[in-house]
Amino acid sequence: MLWWPLLPTLILTAGALGLLLVEAFRRPGSASGMAWGALGITALTLGAVGALVGHQEIEGLYRMVRWDPPAFWLSLTILIGTGLAILLSRHYLADQGMERGEYYVFLLLAAAGMLLMAVAADLLIVFLALEWLSFPLYVLAGFARPRLESEEAALKYFLLGAFASAFLVFGIALIFAGTGLTNLSDLAAWLKHPDPGAQPLVWMGGALLLVALGFKVAAVPFHLWTPDVYEGAPTPVTGFMAAATKTAAVAALIRVFLVGLGPAVALWSGPVALMAAGTMLVGNGVALMQSNFKRLMAYSSIAHAGYLLMGLLGDPALAVPGLMFYLLAYTLATMGAFAVAVGMVGPEGEDQSFRAYTGVARRAPGIGTAMALFMLSLIGVPPTAGFFAKLLLFAAAWQAGWIALVMVGILTTVISAYFYLRVVVAMWMGPGEPARLPKSDLWVRLSVALTGVGTLLLGVLWLMFGGLSL
């Protein structure tokens, strides 16, 4: 029995619990020490992930977890999202009067659950990881208590999340009832020579799993919680949910559908294609009407779930690296955009309407340039990372014959250009002097700089140093 695939999860969990102990005994006051501690633990975990990079495949814990190249990329993306969320939270919490150290503990615990999802090779681990990452997020969504929107977000997220978990458990139970299996590789082997009598149970179970994971990844028609939760949650948490939670949910989709139910692709590809098309259309379509940045990013997050689902259907040789890179590019651009949004929040309160962004680039061209880069990457304009990511997913879907889906994808991409550009327009072309300016917060500035450089160069670098062969 090997523990290596669990190493990152274990380090992060141990660190988080240690941090919780520290929080219990530390003197009240600034929580910046906790932020430093959380950053250190994240870096340490990143080191552990890096140490595992060379290994092609390690199974462990009675074949319930598995380390493979996708696990590396997913873990990397999740940890990058986590580190950036910590950077963004430091001054945001202080400005909003909610500087409590347990915030970082919850953040790290959620990330640990996500890392577990990245290595899941068994339905039970998928369930465990999903619950593990969700519970801290419910708390984090309501962290801005007593702000009503935040409490509403937490409650909504919790109720719907619990509902989705029930679907997941029931789906797993049906599959287990039909096959006696929870291991995903065994399930795939079983599906190659299925027992006809037990098949309907497996199909029903698979459908329930799709619903549950569709909820987590914010796919239409299970997306309705997203805008309210995103708007109500503290802004760094929203960024974390949009980026890292999305990555973990896609990890679950890859593990369950590409690995476990892979041989039955003909059965689930139709529903997933419908979901993908609907998600792209609704996400991008409704985003057109938003005038609040956080709600815009919520619909953007839904829209990108659609592109990711399309990738799930693609030719795996292109789609799996494509999905990995897409998640990384999406995480950088999204966290970058949220970094700019957090930078706009001062002690005087938070206003995320487009009006608050008007003319900002006139006084802060660096921030304006970075935001333009993030929006261009989310549209998919070269040479940003988002372009190469979209290119690969479109290629993968086209190769697998999903031509109509690719058409939906490119048309919605054009639609998305309009609403992403509105942010650029507000910042760069809005008339008059800005109402407020980004605060000079080094932690936020650092996040903007890192994500900005990453968004600009990563696509080219990734392809230069291996690309598909990684």
């Binding site: 061209p365 550009l421 327009v425 760069w428 072309m429």
Partner: protein, 507 residues
């Protein structure tokens, strides 16, 4: 010469200039302007070096710089220049310093402005130099961003509307081209292992394998992106808005260079990659071109705004270019290529002149202008020459291009029995051009002069320096076009020979 990657330096130099400008404090406006101008003059110097080392007899790309930057997907950084791109590259290198000189009057956010202009220069040069489809697409889309910002930040009253319209229109076409590029790449993967984005390889090995229907779809996907950029009727409606709202230098670059990217795309990619489809679709293409010629000319005549008039005249002129290209014979294509340069010089010049007038009068409305020759004799003379060049007066450059395009279209085998009718209709466009240009000259320069324009200063040295190279080239090409044809001849003949072979194989 091979050891010095001159083309890569042409692409890098503006980027370096932009980085230098980013390091200059924003108050030092003068320094920023001079650095930008110096950079673009450096590019021009490299361009002249290119011209002196160019081998006329060689049809293929020269000064090639190749680097397999993404081996896992078979994408390469590959730049080169041949007879088709040579003049467009040089036009780009020439227009940018002129546009930057014309931007001296920009006072607001100069640092951002100059940075974007230099980024745009890299983008445009990249489009003309790229010999790899992915690289081409990257540059193609990349030009969109600085141009949108230039229109949206420094433009006129409806700048935001115009900027977004420009972005969305272009993007809507480009994504189809992207899908077509992806499809070609996927088709090439079984043949090469990793796939390739090399259009020369595709033309030789992939195109013959495509069914006529597949060729037609791919032709249309590429063609839509290019047709919007040219713009061909009925995809032109972004153009008047973008041109009118853009700052002067933006209009100049848009007209002189960005529109050429579309026509260049047709010639470089559509015709060589999908020859069968090109042959089949030559007549519809020519028909749209003729509609554009007539529509642009009539719309131009109906304008009261000087800048709008020039914008619509662009639609008409680019119609001539597309007609020449769709003739698919050496004469028509060569003339079309020359006409692209001519249009860059004369319409670019007209936009510059509109801008110079606007800076003095703050109006572009013909109803408020008139009689200006009396107060601005030098301006009037230059406007006359550039206007007549745009009209196609014999002895100036426009005549050579338009006349040979008509000649090429008339004798075109690809256009078949429709050739004569289309040519006759297009010839009507020449007459209409005379009407709207002469009306424009009349309404600006002649007639009663309003009192408030008395005492307007005539062109000063900087403005004369901007116009001088354009005037020299307008007259030079008009009187002695031979060297310009000589450079493009072999490349065009080669690209069309590939085309005729493929067509013959189908017949």
């Amino acid at each position: 010469m091979a050891s010095f990657p001159i083309l890569t330096w042409m692409l890098l130099l503006p980027l370096i200039g932009a980085l230098v400008i980013l390091g200059i404090p924003r108050e030092r406006v003068g320094t920023i302007r001079w650095v930008a101008l110096g950079t673009s003059l450096g590019v021009l110097a490299l361009g002249l070096g290119l011209l002196s080392g160019f081998d006329l007899s060689q049809p293929g790309p020269q000064f090639v710089h190749h680097w397999d930057w993404a081996p896992s997907i078979g994408a390469a950084y590959r730049v080169g220049v041949d007879g088709i791109s040579l003049w467009l590259v040089l036009l780009t290198a020439l227009i940018f310093p002129l546009a930057l000189m014309a931007s001296w009057s920009i006072e607001e956010r100069v640092k951002e402005y100059m940075t974007l202009m230099l980024l745009l220069e890299t983008g445009v040069l990249g489009v003309f130099l790229a010999l790899d489809l992915l690289l081409f697409y990257v540059f193609w889309e990349f030009t969109l961003v600085p141009m949108t910002l230039l229109i949206g930040i420094w433009g006129g009253p409806r700048r935001i509307y115009a900027a977004i319209k420009f972005f969305l229109y272009t993007m809507a076409g480009s994504v189809f081209m992207l899908v077509a590029i992806v499809a070609l790449w996927l088709l090439s993967r079984p043949l090469t292992g990793t796939g390739t984005f090399d259009p020369v390889w595709m033309a030789a090995h992939l195109s013959p394998l495509l069914s006529p229907a597949a060729q037609r779809w791919l032709f249309l996907a590429f063609g839509l992106a290019f047709a919007i950029k040219v713009p061909m009727w009925p995809f032109h409606s972004w153009l008047p808005d973008a041109h009118v709202e853009a700052p002067t230098a933006g209009s100049v670059i848009l007209a002189a260079l960005l529109l050429k990217m579309g026509a260049y795309g047709f010639l470089r990619f559509n015709f060589s990659l999908f020859p069968v489809a090109a042959r089949d679709l030559a007549v519809p293409l020519a028909l749209l071109a003729v509609v554009a010629i007539l529509y642009g000319a009539l719309a131009s005549y109906a304008q009261d705004d000087f800048k709008r008039l020039v914008a619509f005249s662009s639609v008409s002129h680019m119609g001539f270019v597309m007609l020449g290209l769709s003739a698919l014979n050496p004469l028509g294509v060569q003339a079309a290529l020359l006409q692209m340069i001519n249009h860059g010089l004369s319409t670019g010049g007209l936009f510059l002149l509109v801008g110079m007038l606007y800076e003095r009068t703050h109006t572009r409305d013909f109803r408020e202008l008139g009689g200006l020759w009396k107060v601005l004799p030098v301006y009037g003379g230059i406007l006359m020459v550039v206007g007549l060049s745009s009209m196609g007066l014999p002895g100036l450059n426009g005549f050579v291009g338009e006349f040979l395009i008509l000649l090429g279209a008339f004798g075109s085998a690809a256009l078949g029995p429709a050739a004569r009718g289309l040519t006759a209709a297009a010839a009507l466009g020449v007459v209409l051009a005379a009407i709207y240009i002469l009306t424009m000259l009349m309404r600006v320069l002649h007639g009663p002069l309003q009192d408030r324009w008395r005492g307007l200063p005539d062109l000063h040295v900087r403005e004369l320096a901007i116009m001088a190279p354009l005037l020299v080239l307008i007259i030079l090409i008009g009187l002695y076009p031979l060297p310009f044809f000589a450079a493009m001849q072999t490349s065009i003949q080669q690209s069309l020979s590939v085309f005729t072979q493929a067509t013959l194989a189908v017949r």
